[in-house]
């Protein structure tokens, strides 16, 4: 693959506008997805269908978001991040606009699930990769700020969506949310390209493979890293899905259970920003931090069933939230550290696609464990075990135990050393 001389990452300046773009993107993609529960209730009432069938609407959207990662990465490697994100923003808004005219659940699967999901896929990967490309010394903190949008947005959007639904019914509310989603186009416009994308390739096949970064599949560190996150994703989302039912089963009422989730979300937000800021300050390698926080997340999940009284359960939920939030910026920056910023665009997409296998399996597996054992203890322990296993897998990365890797020179050294 032809080496590209990249311009030096500015580590500031316009980079902060790219962080803002990432923040907006995180807010308008994941903030919207997290607050979609308001519409879920309306769909069940209007279409008269079972909640199982209606929940496919967001499940399809999230699945397309993750599986579309490589496509999105390939397109942005070829054409640059900006046009891809702007197109993605337009598609996600268009999907919701069409959904407001839906007359059956199938229409919703196609418009929100497929079309908006594809839009979200085109927005997510290039935005995160752009932040990684614009920063080196402060990369983790910039990424942490960029992904914190989701947490803040889900606070604002849940009551906002409810207000829109009360005023305009779900059709009108979807129309307004579509307009709000179009702001992703504006966020994409902020992604100024850093130098020209590479365009000299020998043959169509090598062009395609370089677009999808498929050679990364032969790259042992990348494979180890991605496998780690398949394991992590299998357990990561279990508390999001099963903490509230578990709390209800222990005897707490709906508001107490919902408050547990809200508190975990706040802790998640703090985890993202605080740990990413710390990571840049301390001279600790990212993969070491990542191992620590993955292990702690897994541990807090294993300990969750021990929470018998409300204060203990709340404390454990806060721990889980904080550690789970810390993982997010560390994951993307850890990847950039391993494969180099030149290939981070394609790498994130490929990793997302591989991760989706874990997240698709995780929640159903946990639900099945609960059905055969009778409560959620086994589910949480198994989910935590997956995370702990993932953290141990990180030990097998090459040069794991070397204490210092110079991050500015690492791009050249990693590309030379790992290109085998």
């Amino acid at each position: 693959m032809a080496d590209v001389t990249r311009p030096k990452p500015p580590d500031g300046g316009w980079g902060w506008m790219v962080v803002l773009a990432g923040f907006l993107q995180s807010a308008l993609v994941f903030g919207v997805i997290r607050s979609f529960g308001v519409f879920f209730v309306e769909f069940v009432g209007y279409f008269g269908e079972l909640s199982g069938k209606v929940s496919w609407v967001t499940s399809i959207g999230i699945a397309v978001l993750q599986l579309g990662g490589p496509v999105s990465s390939a397109l942005s490697t070829q054409y640059g991040a900006r046009p891809v994100v702007m197109a993605g923003g337009f598609l996600s808004g268009l999907g919701m606009l069409l959904a407001s005219f839906a007359s059956s659940l199938t229409h919703l699967y196609l418009s929100i699930g497929l079309l908006s999901g594809l839009g979200w896929a085109l927005v997510f990967t290039p935005s995160v990769a752009s932040v990684a490309q614009y920063f080196t010394k402060r990369r983790t903190f910039a990424t942490g700020l960029a992904v914190s949008g989701a947490g803040l947005a889900s606070f604002a959007f849940s009551p906002l969506f409810q207000l829109l639904v009360d005023t305009y019914a779900w059709r009108g509310a979807l129309m307004v949310v579509a307009g709000v989603s179009f702001n992703l186009v504006a966020a994409g416009a902020l992604l100024r390209p850093l130098g020209e994308p590479s365009s000299d390739v020998a043959s169509p096949w090598s062009a395609l493979s370089s677009l999808f970064q498929s050679h990364l599949l032969c790259h042992r560190p990348f494979l180890l890293f991605a496998t780690t996150f398949i394991l992590v994703d299998t357990g990561y989302y279990v508390p999001y899905v099963h903490l509230v039912p578990h709390a209800r089963e222990l005897g707490f009422n709906e508001y107490q259970a919902a408050f547990l989730m809200s508190s975990a979300a706040v802790a998640d937000l703090f985890g993202r920003v605080v740990v990413s800021w710390l990571a840049d300050r301390l001279a600790v390698r990212l993969v070491h931090s990542l191992t620590l926080w993955t292990f702690l997340t897994g541990l807090s999940m294993v300990l969750l069933p021990l929470g018998g009284s409300y204060p203990i359960l709340m404390g454990l939920a806060l721990c889980y939230g904080f550690c789970a939030g810390a993982l997010v910026p560390l994951q993307f920056c850890g990847l950039a550290e391993i494969i180099g910023t030149g290939r981070v665009m394609g790498g994130i997409g490929l990793m997302q696609m591989m991760e989706s296998s874990g997240s698709l399996v995780g929640a159903p597996l946990s639900g099945w464990l609960r059905d055969i054992t009778g409560d959620y203890t086994a589910s949480f322990i198994v989910a935590g075990a997956f995370l702990i296993a993932g953290s141990f897998l990180l030990f097998t990365l090459p040069n794991y135990f070397s204490c210092s890797v110079n991050s500015t020179a690492e791009e050249e050294t990693t590309e030379d050393r790992f290109l085998a």
């Binding site: 009360d166 059709r171 009108g172 702001n183």
Partner: protein
């Protein structure tokens, strides 16, 4: 037997303390069994302190035929005339009356009134009165259960369909009837006459749903769901608002215009900062200002 006790306490003139309570004893509807099963005894107490000038009233919710014992109790030391007249009235008509000599050592005076409620004529207000020089009274209002409609408007769109729901979970009505407003009147909705406009699901049971198809402007307004009980009816109100698609379209277009403006500003700023060194930068700035003015005039 389920027994409910509501205790209303009234401090009357001087030393007069007036406590009024009733107990509701449900026997089986077919009056077959008079054996009271004390295993299911359950008591509910409400204590209200008021002065004699305020009327003491209590609502009693009854949905189906039942035996009721209304009971009033007067306590306190009393210094006055020799007898007290205890009276029960149904609305304003006296139905039971008794004279009681006042015994100085006795603190509590009780009077009961038994009712076998079978039809709606008995669903009235019953007042117990204690009379000597002054009169103290308390009233029980017998009512069918109130139906709660929906507080907020139900919103829907022209050409769409909507479902209006009414529930009565605690007391199950015999049947439901839906009404729509026609000017100041309420007109019953007959869904068999207009099957492609109105569909009523659940005429019997604790939930009823009225589905209105092919909505138009004229369907905007109030609808009533009437629950028919053996001893009376009660209505709940649901209001429907029918909007056109133009209503949410306006905020959508405003936001879309804002997006276009922001994107334009970002691109123009980029072109401007690239050409900062060249004289063409001044032209770009003029272009920027012109475009902003252009969009401003479009919106307003």
């Amino acid at each position: 037997m389920k027994s409910k006790r509501f205790i209303l306490s009234l401090s009357g003139s001087r030393d007069l303390l007036f406590i009024c309570f009733f107990s509701l004893q449900k026997l089986s509807i077919h009056n077959q069994s008079f054996l009271f099963d004390y295993a299911n005894f359950y008591t509910e107490n409400i204590l209200v302190n008021r002065f004699s000038s305020d009327p003491v009233e209590e609502k009693v919710i009854v949905d189906s035929p039942v035996n009721i014992e209304l009971s009033c109790s007067l306590t306190g030391t009393y210094t006055g005339s020799a007898t007290i007249v205890m009276m029960w009235k149904k609305d304003n008509e006296t139905v039971k009356i008794s004279n009681v000599p006042v015994n100085a050592t006795r603190n509590v005076l009780n009077t009961q009134y038994n009712l076998n409620i079978r039809d709606r004529n008995q669903m009235r207000s019953y007042t117990c009165t204690f009379q000597s020089e002054k009169e103290v009274k308390a009233t029980f209002h017998l009512q069918v259960p109130q139906i709660e409609g929906k507080e907020h408007h139900v919103v829907s769109y022209v050409g769409d369909s909507v479902v209006l729901v009414c529930k009565s979970v605690k007391y199950i009505p015999v049947s439901w009837i839906w009404y729509m407003s026609n000017g100041s009147d309420q007109v019953a909705i007959n869904d068999s006459l207009m099957p492609d406009k109105y569909i009523v699901k659940g005429k019997y049971g604790n939930t009823t749903k009225l589905k209105i198809l092919k909505l138009s402007d004229k369907d905007d307004g109030s609808y009533w769901c009437q629950a028919v009980f053996k001893l009376g009816e009660s209505k709940g109100k649901v209001s429907l608002k029918v909007l056109t698609y133009m209503v949410p379209l306006k905020p959508f277009l405003v936001i879309a215009a804002e997006v276009i403006i922001v994107v334009t500003i970002i691109f123009l700023y980029e072109m401007y900062s690239k050409k900062k060194q060249m004289h063409a930068g001044k032209i770009s700035l003029a272009l920027l200002i012109t475009l902003i003015a252009f969009f401003y005039t479009i919106i307003c």
